[in-house]
Amino acid sequence: MRVILESKVRKKPSLPIEAEAIIPRNFLKGTDLVVFEGNKERTLSELFWIFVEGTAVSPENIEVVLKGDTSRIKRVGEYMDTGTILIEGDIGMHCGNFMSGGTIEIRGSADAWLGREMRGGTIVCRGNAGHYCATGYRGEKKGMQGGTVEVFGNAGDFCAEYLAGGTVHIHGHTGDFPGVEMRGGELLIEGDATRPCGNMKNGSCVILGTVHDLLPTFEKSGTHLLPERNLEMDVYTGDVANRGKGTMMVASRALRR
């Protein structure tokens, strides 16, 4: 079954919509769902043109497609456990909060807190991701714990903060402090990064681009060849300031040509 939600033109298009109801499982019983626009409760049909194609008996077979201006829609896919969500444009904050299964594909860019405290499943973002991609929320000491986040563009600051499990793959650059407070999982950054992995406890981070302002609390422990890319990497252990046992690999300058 495919549920297509095409956003209607709104009087105040900048008002955020809190749409934690948009997860595939909820469409099993119909499209009679409730979201909040600002502080007003709205039914889904007030904000979207809804098209349903086919039927489904289990939520795994449900695909939700979001079209039109979706850049102010927050919390899409929160607590999602199965099925597929396809977003054709940009998406608002907190997409895929606490997600434990299924797939979210974003053709445009994602705002902040993409896949925060995710437990499982897959998020693919073809554009850029905002700040705090794949992290924990304010004060939370366990961020993303499982699953995969792949961003083809750049990510903002604090990408993969408090990462505890799963993999995060950023094809572009990241902002300040990627992988800070990491305690597990894998972070791969193909572009550049600034001050990565501060206070890291465990897990591994691979950076193929340039690292700006590498923190002095990382200890170089050797080199390693990445065979699939034929790149020689400098291996660092840290963050020693926090008795950390994490691994950070940075492409060696000498061989990067």
């Binding site: 929320y137 004060g139 939370e140 000491k141 926090n242 008795r243």
Partner: protein
């Protein structure tokens, strides 16, 4: 004139020696009276368990460090959210909830009086402001004197009268209720990055020892005739092998007051560790309770921990630093000039940790091995050991050996070897629970004479009616019913008004704040003491005239006046 008639109540009122009698209670204008007119509102208690309103004799719910705990844990504000509903404000938070959250949850559990465990006099205004926003409980504030410079100067000069006068002035200025000593001397040493490891070690620059501070203030407390005794958080909290310090401290305590204890030792679970390192820590609850059982002049409370995520907050700054070194998590440290310090860190008590399991067992051992329930009161040092919403579970554990056995089976294997909990058969009864949750507190805090903790004629009509039929529930087997029953009262009556019904708050509260004004003779009053004023103006960053809390901060203050014997 408002009247209320509670009929068919199964009353347990330990202070008046009533144990499970079916009786009626008449209330007029917030006080319990002989009888009321037939126009009174009637509540039928249906023979359910009816107790005086609960009293928590040591909890941290208001003040600067509690509030800083809130700042530090935005993640906690995602838990326990309730919407605004009827008379109820919005609440949020689980282990450091908003003030209204604290008040409503205590009220739902039948608690009507709380003692804030530690208030720094310099920061008293904040505490009193939060008291007014904790509307359903009468509040009292323990005032910190552990590193007070003027007190330590008096102790060094062996001048008990002067120490008493300083205490009287400060209690009056801070609108405090009792003397609290938190790691006496240690918090001042922490100002120099140091801690004291024994009660006979000297405080840097002051040439006094914790033992001298404790004994002097116990005497000063009696000279001032304060309603409560000295409230002590012993030195060396949370260090393996600290039980010896605790026992040494208990040996210092004379029996000076026939009406109540001379020392209230708080959260003793944290002070009852044997061994020398975290690897070989073991329970010394038997030694501690042997000492308590032979010393009627001491009352303690459990400081039970429960397995959950929580926040530790105490004036004991150096201890929190040690904990921070263990956990490597966020940490706050604070110095209150000339008075005390504080520290805050979040912790998670886990069944996977042998140390946590042993701590859990020690708390229960203390309660079960103390012969008189009047000497071991139930609390968790909220939120240090666990948030207070866990009290019903602790009651269940104390009343049922089977519940304990089931819990014990899930603990770390080391626990059985290093504690004696497995061998304890004792199961407390309803009367003992009533003592440990209200009557004992009222007596220990000296507020029974204010009409708290009992249901005699003239007492304040603070009543908790729990949906438990004591004649039909066997707590040893049906402990789940006990736990559920104590979680939510059918009615909580505060000063003659029903404030909470089945956990729902139905009126705006109007609590009172009790404070003590101990009158000392003109010649030794601190406001006439030139040397005290000079040092105050020299060292404090506030003027002495700006220091006392104005009455504005206590819209419903209730002053208890005492005549000092000086």
């Amino acid at each position: 004139m408002t009247e209320l008639w509670v009929k068919n109540a199964c009353v347990i009122d330990p202070i008046r020696g009533i144990n499970g009698e079916i009786m009626d209670i008449a209330i007029r204008d917030g006080r319990i009276v002989e009888s009321v007119s037939d126009r009174a509102d009637v509540i039928d208690a249906h023979r359910c368990l009816t107790l005086p309103g609960g009293i928590d004799s040591h909890t941290h719910v208001s003040g600067t460090k509690v509030n800083f705990g809130r700042y530090m844990s935005p993640e906690d504000m995602r838990a326990g959210r309730t919407k605004r509903r009827g008379k109820m404000h919005v609440t949020s938070g689980y282990y450091v909830p908003t003030t209204f959250g604290n008040s409503y949850r205590y009220s739902a559990m039948g608690y009507t009086t709380l003692l804030e465990g530690a208030m720094a006099p310099l920061e008293a205004r904040h505490t009193h402001e939060e008291f007014t926003a904790t509307p359903h409980q009468d509040m009292l504030a323990n005032t910190l004197f552990d590193g007070n410079w003027a007190v330590m100067d008096a102790v060094r000069e062996h001048d008990v009268r002067k120490a008493a006068a300083v205490v009287a002035w400060t209690l009056n200025a801070a609108r405090g209720y009792a003397i609290k000593l938190t790691n006496p001397g240690g918090t001042e040493a922490w100002g120099w990055g140091d801690d004291l490891t024994s009660i006979h070690e000297q405080v840097p620059h002051f040439a006094v020892t914790p033992a001298e501070i404790i004994t002097t203030l116990i005497q000063a407390n009696e000279l001032l005739r304060l309603p409560h005794s000295v409230h002590l958080h012993c030195n060396n909290l949370g260090k393996p092998g600290n039980y010896q310090t605790t026992l040494d401290t208990f040996e210092l305590v004379p029996d000076l007051n026939p009406a109540r204890q001379s020392l209230y030792a708080t959260h003793v679970q944290f002070h009852a560790y044997g061994g020398g390192t975290w690897r070989n820590i073991c329970s010394k609850a038997e030694e501690i309770t042997r000492s308590i059982n032979s010393k009627p002049q001491i009352v303690m409370d459990m400081g039970q921990i429960m397995f959950c995520r929580t926040m530790t907050m105490t004036a004991d700054g150096p201890m929190e630093f040690n904990l921070h070194c263990l956990h490597h998590n966020k940490w706050s440290n604070h110095d209150v000039e000339l008075e005390t310090g504080s520290g805050i860190i979040p912790v998670t008590y886990s069944k996977k940790s042998a140390v946590n399991c042993i701590m859990w067992a020690i708390g229960l051992e203390l309660a079960l091995l103390t012969k008189s329930p009047w000497q071991c009161l139930l609390e968790t040092d909220n939120p240090n050991g666990a948030p207070f919403v866990k009290y019903p579970e602790i009651i269940g554990l104390l009343m049922s050996k089977r519940y304990r056995d089931e819990e014990c089976a899930t603990l770390h294997a080391e626990t059985e070897k290093r504690t004696s909990l497995w061998a304890l058969e004792r199961e407390l009864d309803w009367h003992e629970i009533a003592v440990m949750t209200r009557a004992g507190q009222a007596k220990a805090l000296g507020i029974a004479s204010q009409g708290k903790g009992h249901l005699g004629i003239g007492a304040e009509a603070d009543i908790a009616i729990y949906p438990i039929r004591t004649d039909m529930v066997d707590p040893a087997r049906e402990y789940r019913k006990v736990v559920e029953g104590f979680q939510k009262t059918r009615y909580t009556i505060k000063r003659g008004r029903v404030v909470s019904r089945d956990g729902e708050i139905i009126v705006d509260g109007a609590n009172a704040t009790f404070w003590v004004n101990a009158k000392v003779p003109e010649d030794i009053r601190m406001e006439n003491d030139k040397e005290f004023i000079r040092r105050f103006e020299q060292f404090y960053t506030v003027r002495m005239s700006n220091y006392p809390v104005q009455d504005l901060y206590l819209p419903r203050g209730r002053c208890i006046e005492t005549e000092a014997m000086l």
